[in-house]
């Protein structure tokens, strides 16, 4: 009854996604099963008392047994239930497909998470064999921009590097292996920033959030120091920045695991504002004609959105002008990890361009040359630096004229891929299918 009376909700704030609306009918979409699927999703997403049910369910789950927060717990990300009512697909490609789907949509790439004392850590250390492709991609940019722009790699480790349990200490080394594999592959003047090396000197500080998959301002700060060491800058000390704090931050990993011990351990978000005047604008994907004013720090972002304090979330392109009149310009290619890191750079550049490779449709090389960028910094998460889809996308932004939408992705990959000789290249082509990508 409530489906008809109450108007459909548009957005789920906790899940950070659009909620499905009632789908439009077309015979074609019916035949492919898309219309039916959408109706099911509509019914699920618009169910009455949705959030209350989720909260109630997690309470009920709690009472299935006993819980000891100081003991470690491993949580698996929900996957489709293998046992369907006698619906075994004769050809089960779903698990292989999901692997590649994860690369593209960057949902939790790790299937297992460790929860201990109310903190969630990922149990993954990247794929060292993939680091080479990331390095290759950087080298191509370095070669193309020789003598014009410096190219940096500032990839952070995953939170698994800092699990405070003795038997998981080896993850730190494994993360470093994956990162150093990038360094081993860099050439043509590309510069490697030893982010993990710098972070390891400060493990007494809280480097990653307990309830969110991002790093804290402290973690980002030490990465900034690692960058400064390579770029030849003097890092601005934290004490000379304005410190502010936000409380009760329950982030993405809490939403994903809905664990009671995590719920009782919300994060505190400290952020540091360099004493630099800034004027920031953002542009729509691919379009450089209409700038919209934005902020470097979002003071209004609270609760589950606290991490959006940095750069107000993930926008395709942000251009920040500062009062640091040294004529230097930088561009950062990042995903959400890079947000906390990029804000420290405003102390050193007159202009800062921050590109989220997931949403940008701008032609990178044009942007770099038109604006005479001095430093090009790649700061994606380690997952992104180890995944076919994202590496190819970062490459395409510069070399295949920017725009890569799902429909033409296959064509793009066939035309000019840095994975041409990679072992799984052909498999990845076959599995990429328009129908698999979730609708934005």
């Amino acid at each position: 009854m409530s489906y008809i009376i109450i108007p459909s909700k548009q957005i789920s704030e906790n899940e950070k996604r659009k909620l499905t609306q009632f789908p439009a009918w077309s015979f074609d979409s019916y035949l492919k099963g898309i219309w039916i699927d959408s109706v099911d999703k509509f019914v699920n997403d618009q169910a009455p008392f949705r959030l209350q049910s989720v909260a109630f369910a997690s309470t009920l789950n709690y009472y299935k047994g006993f819980h000891f927060p100081e003991k470690e717990k491993i949580v698996s990300v929900k996957k489709p239930n293998k046992l369907q009512p006698k619906n075994n697909s004769a050809n089960d490609t779903t698990s292989a497909v999901r692997r590649y789907l994860d690369d593209f949509t960057e949902t939790a790439a790790s299937s297992n998470f460790l929860i201990i004392n109310g903190s969630v850590f990922t149990l993954n250390s990247g794929v060292p064999s993939m680091s080479k492709y990331f390095a290759d991609m950087l080298n191509k940019y370095a070669r193309e921009l020789k003598n014009e722009t410096r190219v940096f790699s500032c990839v952070p480790p995953l939170s698994s590097a800092f699990i405070p349990v003795k038997k998981y200490e080896f993850y730190n080394k494994k993360n470093q292996e994956t990162l150093l594999a990038i360094r081993a592959g860099l050439s043509d003047g590309s510069i490697f920033c030893d982010v993990l090396g710098e972070l390891n000197k400060h493990t007494d500080k809280k480097l990653f959030f307990s309830t969110d998959h991002h790093w804290t301002a402290y973690g980002a700060y030490y990465a900034y120091i690692a960058f400064c060491k390579q770029a030849g800058f003097e890092p601005v000390p934290l004490e000379s920045m304005t410190k502010k704090t936000k409380y009760n931050f329950l982030g993405t990993l809490y939403e994903l695991t809905r664990d009671k011990s995590v719920e009782k351990n919300p994060d505190t978000l400290d952020y540091f504002i360099p004493k630099v005047e800034t004027y920031a604008v953002t542009y729509k994907e691919g379009d450089l004609s209409y700038p919209y004013k934005t902020d470097v720090f979002c003071e209004r972002c609270y609760g589950g959105y606290s991490y959006s304090t940095f750069l107000c979330g993930d926008l395709a392109l942000i251009k920040i002008k500062t009062n640091v009149k040294n004529g230097k310009k930088a561009m950062v290619i990042k995903n959400s990890m890079g947000n906390a890191f990029s804000v420290f750079l405003i102390s050193h550049y007159e202009e800062l361009y921050i590109i989220d490779y997931r949403y940008s449709e701008h032609n990178l090389l044009n942007l770099i040359r038109d604006n005479q960028i001095n430093d090009l910094i790649f700061a994606p998460s380690l997952y992104a630096a180890n995944a076919y889809g994202t590496i190819q996308r970062m490459y395409n932004l510069g070399f295949n004229n920017g725009l890569v939408r799902q429909a033409s992705l296959k064509a793009r990959l066939e035309k000019d891929s840095i994975f041409k000789n990679a072992q799984n290249y052909k498999d990845s082509l076959e599995l990429i299918d328009k129908k698999l990508f979730p609708d934005e």
Partner: protein, 466 residues
């Protein structure tokens, strides 16, 4: 569509009940049921619904023809029966086993054409068997051919049992097709049964499924021996509660509309031998193979051991188009034969030992059922028995955090209705209390299940964009 979905619970079921009881006209009732059932099927299979219709009309025709010729020319009737068998088994083989057969032939001789890539039409294993049992029963004279096509279509497509069983014989509902009375007791017990089945599926099976995923899927490489056993025991729990939950829901739904189906599960994990297990698990399938394969082959009169093996191999193959299912059937066939040969020894063994030995065999067999890939299966068997890997602390956490749930599972597996006789005071008291409390219990179970279903659709993304 699936029973354990919000679309079904919020929309489909209420609408179907409404249209069914809005009139006493039986034709309208059957027609509305048929239409809804077809919508139900088409919901999951927008394309293959036509195959279902074809299969139903095909055997409707066959049934009428066989009945017509039965009295005139037995030979002609036999030919039509043969046609029906070939047609039904043919459809099943083509759509379910096409890829499997192709792979096996292609292994030896490269075939000039492409591998069939169709998806498996849902429920094909059930409805082909169902219509096949109908034509055979018509031939044997056990039932009268159905003249009304709507009724026949309803028999085949009835959404209660189309997708996940039980395999309902025509005889079971022959009378009820025309004669169903509105009966509060039936509806009430139907709703109760349905809610109970939903509870089994959503709260027991799905929970077990998450743990199975964690251990046997994501954590496969690091499994220690206790963890491997834990994983496969959980899979045994999942598969039983999932399947029997669906059967409960089917039987409950049937009751709600005035149909009475036979039981499909009788506390199988209380079995004391493989033979006993067979009589308690997926009873409708066992009966099908007994009546249409085992007995025609000679049953226990002629070459019994061979017949047992054939039935089990076919049962295995029915479950899936892959060699591990055949192996599963072979495994049980061997033990069934062994039990027949050692019948006297077994009779003297204490009940508890027989029960433990049966449970052990069943749980072990689940690993053959789960791992479609033989190399993974081999690795898993090694992990079960000869495995130096240490147990992770997280394993103990999982056990502690599910203690009460495990108690509930064990409670539900015990065959209370067999242990406590109907005359016993405790049973009488429980039944009385339940009769009064039923609506409240049903409502509670329903709310609980809907809560968990909504929770399972909760799908947080890790990035910020929307």
């Amino acid at each position: 569509m699936v029973f354990s979905s919000l679309t079904f619970l919020f929309f489909f079921l209420p609408l179907t009940l409404f249209f069914h009881y809005i009139t006493k006209n039986n034709l309208f009732r059957n027609l509305s049921l048929t239409i809804f059932s077809l919508i139900f099927y088409a919901w999951g299979e927008p394309l293959w619904v036509f195959l279902l219709l074809f299969s139903a009309i095909f055997d409707y025709g066959n049934g009428l023809l066989i009945a017509h010729y039965l009295s005139k020319s037995k030979l002609k009737a036999k030919w039509i029966l043969a046609l029906s068998i070939i047609g039904n088994v043919g459809i099943l083989i083509a759509f379910k086993y096409g890829g499997f057969i192709y792979d096996n032939i292609n292994y030896f001789i490269t075939l000039p054409f492409e591998r069939p890539t169709n998806t498996l039409p849902i429920g094909i294993s059930f409805y082909t068997f169902q219509t096949l049992s109908y034509t055979i029963d018509v031939y044997r004279g056990e039932v009268k051919a159905q003249k009304n096509i709507v009724n026949f279509l309803m028999f085949v497509s009835l959404f209660h049992q189309l997708v996940a069983g039980p395999i309902v014989r025509y005889q079971t509902i022959e009378a009820e097709m025309e004669n169903r009375k509105f009966n509060w007791a039936d509806i009430s017990s139907g709703v109760g049964r349905f809610c109970f089945g939903l509870f089994k599926k959503v709260i027991i099976a799905n929970t077990a499924g998450e743990l199975v995923n964690k251990y046997l899927e994501n954590g496969f490489n690091d499994l220690s021996s206790p963890e491997a056993w834990f994983g496969i025991i959980l899979f045994s729990i999942q598969i039983y509660f999932d399947f029997s939950g669906y059967s409960d829901m089917a039987i409950g739904l049937g009751r709600m509309f005035g149909f009475h189906y036979d039981e499909n599960f009788k506390h199988p994990y209380a079995a004391i031998s493989v033979g006993d297990f067979y009589k308690r698990w997926h009873i409708s399938l066992g009966k099908f193979f007994r009546d249409y394969v085992y007995i025609p082959l000679g049953g226990n009169r002629k070459m019994q051991l061979r017949n047992i093996m054939v039935v089990w191999l076919l049962t295995g193959l029915w479950h899936g188009a892959s060699w591990n299912f055949v192996l599963w059937g072979f495994y049980f066939g061997c033990f069934m034969i062994m039990e027949k040969l050692l019948e006297n020894v077994l009779k003297k063994t204490p009940r508890i030992i027989r029960h433990c030995y049966t449970l052990f065999l069943i749980i072990l067999s689940r690993s053959i059922f789960y791992f479609v890939d033989f190399s993974k299966l081999k690795q898993f068997i090694v992990k079960l028995f000869y495995n130096p890997l240490p147990v992770k602390d997280a394993f103990y956490t999982d056990i502690y955090s599910h203690v009460f749930w495990f108690v509930l599972v064990i409670f539900l597996c015990i065959p209370w209705d067999e242990i406590i006789k109907p005359e016993h005071y405790l049973r009488k008291k429980t039944e009385l209390v339940y009769a009064y409390a039923q609506p409240v219990v049903n409502a509670l179970l329903l709310i609980l299940c809907i809560t968990f279903l909504i929770d399972s659709t909760y799908n947080p993304f890790i990035y910020f964009r929307f």
